[in-house]
């Protein structure tokens, strides 16, 4: 690469002509190559949120229990007794498509650093994954690589991976999604932020050495893919979970002292973004001397070092005079430690190398002055086409088929590769509505879920986004937790296309509306745009990670049936909405109709009612009704408990059994308590209907033909994933 800035070089750095003109205006001169590189990453979509910032401002981010909203490394909520939960979800989509193992592994490592840099010990990981069609030639390789990458990193860190979600759809054939969420625990009075306040304070570099890996990762994540994208493999970073484990322990040890003023992980855009963001938040300047940066390779240039995305590194500002104490801790953990600069009062980011100033940029030029676009958008009319089905199909056969479809089958093949129980606090493992992790040494627990239904979002981005938030709310309520806050990971196509921008705007509006109605604020998040390959966008996928609090973990519900002879009651209203349902897609072979509408007031009422029963110790068996509708939910409860069920004839139509109406829960209670429950439901204006009872070893629907045995259901539910991964021929599902 030459040092002369030509229009070609500017374009290669992803800056438009107008943006480059603005750079020159802000600097009052031409930038040099190092400066151009710094602007390029800081003004990339990935770092600057230039297309979404104006819309993200409309999201509700506050509640009495929110201690830190968006803008820091992660969001923080108060969970009582001086405890805080810190969490965030982040994408690592582009790298994971190019190099699935390392892409996914470093995604896990990056989100963990975001959480422990704030003073929290990570206690749980979740993953929201989207892959292309199962029979696409790359899919199996990507599933295998991503899953082992997530496991390889998380297992070594000793943080349990407790759940997540997986979908397959052709729109992800050339652009998979790997969204990782980390939840950590801290004390409310020991939370660390990234504002580098004050002048003359030492800036220290800790962790791994800097290499040439990952240079321009943030820029890559801000562009569409084409056939040549696999040549970008060198921009994918390589993870070292062992070093990260040491970094975690060393950081927590240092955080137990009061030596730190500010700390931030070096994630996307590495040293550049960490130093610029810390100076920006602190209203200070930073001067860095690159000769002191621990380096893994020889002859690294300033450009290399400022743009490297080498993993497992942190930047911290210490109180003056505390360097030796900090160094002792990092040396004990056999990590690099170097004072590489100091804070200043100049408001500038000044970078020196070999005694010369190689970059000198006003900090606000990289943050506040970064471009913000009001991109034109076109909000499409939601689909409204009618849905016609063959009413005569066998219910049992359809159920058996659905249980073995890629989107509904058991994910055991995946989660058994994750250590789910390390740390000894995992109370509910993957497979339920939400994972439940105890707050160590207490009776409290956090419930965690990730949700979004991309096919709904495609049909109606606004209702689909509402649905994602509502389903997170429902999944947390279904285990008995009070939903407290969410993190959002907005995965969309190219925002420069008005129809995609329309999906983004509608999606953010939908999240906002649901979050406001459900008192479920957004406290952190991440945007991943340009998820397109050769001009084909992914389904809009605003993944929502939700966290809720359970005060007494002894009062909790799970999906498994627990007793023979329990009454099965359906909470919520059933209209039989088959538009965009799994049934329609898998059984009728059509992706049609509109997404199910979400009544947020009903969501709140129904959720509060179910949660109240669990908290009062009156309910231990609950399952939310979502993908696949009522009958697949019942099947999951039956498989979970090894107990069958008989549904009464009032549910026997296909729309009732497989429709995906929202706001619904299935509960099972002893028969003696049914009258009381129906009475209190009526009192609270909650629709509740007795629809069947548990017992036996079969699942049957009165008047709907032959029953399915639990053994058959389990076998078919469990078989798809391992067979798919072994590369066996799988018969078409319909």
């Amino acid at each position: 690469m030459t040092d002369t800035i030509t229009p070609q070089v500017v374009r290669e750095h992803g800056l438009s002509d107008a943006e480059y003109a603005k750079v020159k205006l802000l600097l009052g001169r031409e930038p040099n190559l190092v400066e151009l590189g710094i602007f390029s990453v800081m003004w990339s979509e990935h770092c600057s949120y230039k297309s979404t910032r104006a819309h993200l401002r409309t999201l509700p981010t506050k509640a009495p229990w929110v201690l830190q909203g968006p803008g820091e490394n992660a969001g923080v909520i108060d969970i009582g007794d001086g405890d805080a939960a810190i969490f965030k979800m982040e994408s690592h989509n582009h790298p994971s498509f190019i190099e699935p193992y390392q892409g996914a592994a470093t995604g896990v490592g990056g989100i963990m650093r975001d959480v422990f840099t704030m003073g929290a010990r990570p206690i749980a990981m979740m993953n929201a994954l989207r892959f292309g069609e199962p029979d696409h030639p790359k899919t199996r390789h990507l599933v295998s690589g991503v899953v082992s990458g997530i496991g390889g990193y998380g297992n070594c860190m000793g943080v349990p991976t407790v759940g997540g979600e997986v979908n397959f759809h052709r729109s992800y054939n050339g652009n998979i999604l790997v969204n990782a969420m980390c939840v950590g625990l801290a004390r409310t009075d020991n939370i660390f932020l990234s504002a580098a306040k004050g002048a003359g304070n030492p800036v220290v570099y800790v962790g791994s050495k800097t290499g040439r890996d990952g240079i321009h990762g943030a820029t890559m994540a801000s562009a569409e893919f084409n056939e040549d994208s696999e040549e970008k493999r060198p921009t994918v970073q390589v993870g070292d979970p062992f070093t990260e484990k040491l970094l975690l322990e060393a950081c927590l040890e240092l955080m137990a002292t009061d030596a730190i003023i500010a700390i931030q992980d070096m994630g996307a855009a590495g040293l550049t973004s960490s130093s610029a963001e810390m100076a920006d938040k602190g209203g200070s300047g930073i001067e860095l001397d690159l000769d002191r940066v621990p380096q893994r390779e020889t002859n690294m240039t300033a450009y290399d070092m400022m743009l490297s995305e080498s993993q497992e590194r942190m930047l911290a500002v210490l109180k003056p005079g505390r360097e030796a104490e900090a160094e002792r801790i990092f040396k004990k953990w056999e990590l690099d430690f170097a004072v590489i600069g100091r804070t200043t009062d100049t408001g500038r980011l000044v970078v020196k190398h070999h005694g010369k100033v190689v970059a000198d940029i006003p900090v606000p030029a990289l943050s506040d002055e970064a471009p913000v676009y009001q991109r034109p958008f076109d909000r499409a009319t939601p689909r409204a086409d009618a849905v016609v089905i063959d009413e005569k199909r066998s219910v049992t056969q359809s159920l058996l088929t659905l249980m073995a479809t890629p989107d509904l089958c058991s994910r055991r093949w995946i989660w058994e590769q994750y250590d789910q129980t390390v740390m000894n606090d995992t109370v509910q493992r993957p497979g339920g509505d939400a994972a439940v992790v105890r707050v160590h040494g207490t009776k409290k627990a956090l419930a965690i879920t990730t949700d979004v239904t991309p096919r709904y979002c495609k049909a109606d981005p606004f209702e689909g986004a509402k649905q994602a938030v509502a389903e997170a709310y429902r999944n947390l309520s279904a285990v008995g937790a009070r939903p407290l806050a969410i993190t959002d990971n907005l995965n969309f196509g190219n925002p420069e296309k008005p129809e995609i921008m329309g999906e983004i705007v509608a999606g953010i509006d939908g999240i906002g509306e649901a979050a406001r109605a459900l008192d479920f604020p957004v406290i952190s998040g991440n945007c991943s745009l340009y998820n397109e390959t050769n001009g084909e966008a992914i389904l809009p996928t605003p993944a929502i990670g939700g966290v809720g609090l359970m005060k007494n973990v002894d009062r909790m519900a799970t999906v498994a049936f627990k007793r023979d002879g329990d009454a099965i009651i359906l909470i919520g209203e059933t209209k039989g909405h088959l538009g965009q349902s799994i049934y329609l897609r898998e059984i009728e072979g059509r992706e049609e109709g509109n997404a199910p509408p979400v009544d947020l007031a009903a969501e709140k009422r129904n959720g509060t009612f179910v949660r109240g029963l669990i908290e009062d110790g009156k309910l231990d068996t609950v399952h939310d009704v979502s993908d696949g509708g009522l009958l697949t939910a019942i099947a999951e409860m039956a498989i979970g408990g090894g107990i069958g069920a008989m549904l009464y004839a009032n549910t026997k139509s296909i729309p009732q059994l497989f429709g995906e109406d929202q706001g619904r829960y299935l509960i099972a209670i002893p028969k003696a308590e049914v009258d009381m429950l129906l009475f209190s439901a009526r009192d609270a204006r909650i629709p509740a209907a007795l629809i069947g009872h548990t017992g036996g070893d079969k699942l049957s629907v009165e008047g709907a033909g032959a029953a399915a045995t639990i053994a058959d259901l389990r076998r078919t539910h469990e078989s798809w994933f391992p067979r798919f991964m072994r590369g066996e021929e799988i018969p078409p599902t319909n």
């Binding site: 082992s148 496991g151 390889g152 297992n155 070594c156 860190m157 000793g158 070292d240 979970p241 062992f242 070093t243 484990k245 040491l246 953990w333 056999e334 989660w415 058994e416 590769q417 994750y418 250590d419 789910q420 129980t421 390390v422 740390m423 000894n424 606090d425 995992t426 109370v427 493992r429 105890r438 160590h440 973990v553 002894d554």
Partner: protein, 222 residues
Amino acid sequence: MKSAVVVFPGSNCDRDAATALEQLTGQKPHMAWHQDTTLPDVDLIVLPGGFAYGDYLRCGAMAAQSPIMRDVKKKADEGTAVLGICNGFQVLTETGLLPGALIRNADLKFVCRSVALEVEETQSVFTRAYNKGERVLFPVAHGEGNYVADEETLDRLEQEGRVAFRYAPGDNPNGSARNIAGILSEKRNVLGLMPHPERVCDPLLGGTDGAALFKSLIETLS
């Protein structure tokens, strides 16, 4: 019963072992750093699970060379009870305190799930609170738990009653020779096992089948 848990860089079940010990004995164990050269006078030494030194060489190979391991070996030779769980078992085979080796799982994948074990030997400080042949459910969580040794060694382990735990038939998660899940040293004071007893000592976490292992130790060593 006084106990110590050794912490290597990369250990990640040290806290779990300590929590289980504290809950069951009422005493906090001593946490020993890998660079310490001597352990305090204790009745039980635990080598916990995890990825010592990242397991970037053979699992447990680097940890086996840690300064602390010289004293662990010495105390084991003198008769102190030593319990190696998962990565701890790998460290014990690498130090030669137990025979054989642990290699990649037969299907080459990390596996985390509950497995059924049969308690084969109750004549040890670790297993006397179990009944011979008792079935217990312990979780496993490892990528390299496939126990191998030459036929002669395997025969000898069986003849001397040193196979403490076996995976129940049909539930071997890693391809381990003769379904071996855990073995004892010649003097029966060292136990290495791949499954995690410390993760099943609390009914809320899916069972208490592991508590009897610690109960055995407490009854014998207190």
